[in-house]
Amino acid sequence: MEPNSANVFVYLVDDEFAVRDALALLIKASGWSVKSFDCAQDFLNNYYHEFPGCLILDVKMPVMGGLELQEELIKRNINIPIIFISGNADIPDSAKAFRAGAVDFLEKPFEKSILLERIDEAVQKDLKARQQLLEKASIQDCFNRLTTREKEVLQLIVNSHSNKEAAKILDVSPRTIDAHRARVMEKMQADNVAALVTMVMSYELLNNAFAPGEIQ
């Protein structure tokens, strides 16, 4: 992804005017579109989820601090990657930020090269996440088209039962299982069983709804 590609925004939230002004200038000079805010609330009001990007966030701010904003974003299901910047970073704060998925935690003042590197990394992450989301949505769509019986068969396959075993568990003939299995593969657009299992596991399609012990 090129820095100056259209519709990618670097959001900057810092209450200190000079820092905000200087960083905005620096990032802009490096070719990014920058939207800067002096408080967390202002950012929340003006953030558009449609556009990819990243957030450069000051930790210590009056009213709502950086870490609180991070929590609030998670609560609102906004997954914008965050680069924290702090004047007096302390370990508990940074640990908390990383646990909640921060890209990095930079101590003021910092090198231009590092900042730009992290921005790049964060934007890539966001783009990737957005793509995954799209993929997940299409697979979920496929999954939703399966019948209840087909979902049961899928569960047994994922749990590495053979056709025979599956037939015995569901009390049907192996031939029937074969038919279900072929339909599942077709509906899920999977080339082979391995791809099918990967799909189910990585998007957590079956979840708790079909725990193995609960079938029947």
């Binding site: 209450d15 000079a18 820092v19 200087a22 000079a29 009056p62 004047g87 003042p109 910092f110």
Partner: protein, 618 residues
């Protein structure tokens, strides 16, 4: 008589010899006998005459006796041996309230009061047995009607109960004297004289009564006198004690005068010294002899003090009231010409109509040195705590400095990025460079302020605008307000008079109070708004009052008493010196540091600084 008897016998014998004898007798003998008889006749005639005369005398005597017996005021009674009255005279009859005839053959015992019957019986018996004269005092069995109207004159004067008074006794008292006698008929008789002694008795009783009363009165007066005497003795003892105490007091006061650490000088209103104690000698180096009659002005030149007229006036007796009772600092001059700082207090008193001044002086050289050393210590301690305070504030200040540094770094890197492009915008570059230098200056200022705050060790008073000082202090902890989401509200009074204070020390006080408030506020949950306000005002006592107020959790009551004392702290890392130093610093500026705190509502610390005349300091 013998002669006449003999004669008679002789004559009778002759007669009996019947005449014959005469015949036988010679003439001569007859003649002689005749002669003798004639003589005898004459003798007898004489005797007869004498007898007649004697009888006459006896009759006179008997009449006289009878008259006496009948008219005597004393009663006479003649009793037989059984006590029956045989004879009585009119006085006795009257006394016994009867007639002479009525009394005859009556037993006297019946007339005697039954209470005195025994006495009477023994009286009669003794007379009959001993044949001696006896006396009896007894009451009669009859009631007097002559005494009944008598009453005691003394009841007017004494409140004696009437039943005890003899005057109200209606009995008749009599005294009887009796002796044994045998009368002309050879009967045994008792002769009694009886007389009324009621009046005498009552008179005696009155006398006894009066005597008794008199004794009582004398006794009472005696008691009173004893009482008075006792009181007088006590008074005398008291006076003696008082006198002794006075003497002891004088001794004590003399001892105090001699031993006093203070010099005590007594002067006339003119200023001439009357008396000094030993300490004055040692303070001023003069001997007593030098001092007496010398003028006080020579020792303590009051005229040259700050307020010359006042002291001169004091000494000449005009307008004392200002100086009396107040302790003031003056400078004394020793004999060798050196000076000595003194505390002086003056009292006025009068002795025998002359007015004097009692002047007490105390050498305060040591205290002065102590004060100087205390001040030095305070300054040093303030400096040490200031370093500590700065240490505690350091991370905030570092953050504060870090912000412009971050900006500088970003601006300059932006400039570098800009000039990589050949067609860079020169205006933008210049603008950015300007912003960079502004940030660098800002960082520098904070560093300066911090260094100024820490380095100054010596007290240095200068004319300061307190509001500017507060703003300086705030700039050092601005980042804390931000980091801890504290809203600062400044209510500084405009055009407030300048103060002559040590700016660094007062800034230290303000910073300390702000820091405490910040720490209190960080104990509040984040949902609660944290407010800190700083106010300045001029109060009624012409002092500037600075208030630092927060809405923190407040200080609980048990801690409120302790927080201003040294080494008391509620913080795990605190030394407990901050507030106690603050108080000392404010007090060194003649101000006062106080606080109000309400648990759950917040705390306000406030201190005052007097507005002094700036032209006073030279």
């Amino acid at each position: 008589m013998t002669d006449s008897q003999n004669l008679r016998k002789k004559a009778e014998a002759l007669l009996n010899s019947s005449g014959s004898a005469f015949t036988n007798m010679s003439k001569e003998d007859i003649q002689k006998m005749l002669y003798e008889l004639q003589a005898r006749q004459r003798e007898l005639e004489l005797q007869n005459e004498e007898l007649k005369h004697s009888q006459h005398e006896l009759m006179i005597s008997r009449d006289r006796f009878a008259r006496l017996y009948n008219s005597s005021p004393i009663g006479f009674l003649t009793l037989d041996t059984t006590g029956i009255i045989k004879r009585a005279n009119p006085a006795a009859a009257k006394l016994l309230n009867s007639t002479i005839e009525g009394l005859e053959n009556i037993a006297l015992g019946k007339l005697i009061n039954p209470l005195d019957q025994d006495e009477y019986y023994f009286f009669i018996r003794k007379i009959l047995i001993n044949h001696s004269e006896q006396a009896l005092s007894a009451r009669l069995n009859i009631i007097s009607n002559t005494h009944s109207e008598f009453f005691c004159q003394n009841t007017k004067y004494f409140n004696c109960p009437p039943e005890n008074c003899l005057h109200n006794d209606l009995a008749i008292y009599v005294e009887c004297r009796g002796h044994y006698n045998i009368d002309e008929n050879n009967d045994e008789r008792i002769c009694l004289s009886i007389f009324d002694i009621t009046a005498t008795k009552k008179a005696h009783a009155t006398i006894a009564c009066l005597n008794h009363k008199l004794e009582e009165k004398v006794f009472q007066q005696n008691q009173d006198l004893i009482e008075t005497n006792k009181e007088l003795v006590t008074r005398i003892e008291e006076l003696k004690l008082y006198k002794r105490q006075k003497i002891e007091q004088e001794v004590m006061i003399n001892a105090i005068f001699t031993a006093a650490v203070e010099g005590i000088i007594t002067v006339h209103l003119s200023g001439d010294i009357v008396y000094v104690n030993n300490t004055v000698e040692s303070i001023l180096g003069y001997s007593k002899e030098d001092l007496v009659n010398c003028n006080i002005n020579k020792l303590i030149p009051l005229g040259r003090q700050n307020n010359p007229t006042q002291y001169l006036n004091n000494i000449s007796g005009i307008g004392f009231s200002n100086a009396i009772g107040e302790i003031q600092e003056v400078t004394g001059i020793r004999k060798d010409g050196s000076t000595v700082p003194l505390d002086i207090s003056i009292a006025e008193f009068a002795m025998s109509g002359t007015r004097y001044l009692s002047i007490i002086i105390r050498d305060i050289t040591t205290r002065k040195l102590q004060e100087e050393s205390d001040q030095k210590h305070l300054d040093e301690l303030a400096h040490v705590t200031r370093l500590g305070l700065m240490g505690e504030l350091a991370s905030g200040i570092a953050h504060e400095v870090n912000q412009p540094l971050t900006a500088i770094s970003a601006y300059s890197q932006a400039c570098l990025t800009l000039i990589e492009d050949n067609n860079y915008d020169q205006t933008l570059l210049a603008e950015t460079l300007h912003k960079t230098s502004v940030q660098a200056l800002k960082a520098g200022q904070i560093i300066h302020r911090m260094r100024d705050f820490v380095k100054s060790k010596k007290i240095h008073r200068s004319t300061i605008d307190i509001n500017a000082l507060i703003n300086d202090a705030i700039s050092l902890c601005e980042s804390y307000f931000k980091l801890n989401s504290i809203t600062l509200k400044l209510q500084l009074k405009h055009s407030i008079p300048n103060l002559c204070i040590d700016a660094i020390q007062i800034e230290q006080v303000i910073l300390n109070l702000i820091k405490n408030s910040i720490e209190a506020l960080t104990n509040l949950p984040l949902s609660t708004p944290r407010n800190l306000s700083i106010q300045t005002a001029v109060n009624a006592n012409n002092a500037i009052e600075i208030r630092v107020k927060d809405n923190g959790p407040g200080i609980n009551l048990t801690e409120q008493n302790k927080i201003l004392t040294p080494f008391y702290t509620t913080k795990s890392e605190g030394m407990g010196m901050g507030l106690s130093i603050c108080r000392s610093l404010v007090e060194a500026h003649k101000g006062a540091l106080r606080f109000n705190s309400e648990p759950g509502k917040g705390t306000t610390f406030y201190f005052t600084l007097p507005i002094e005349q700036i032209n006073n300091g030279t």
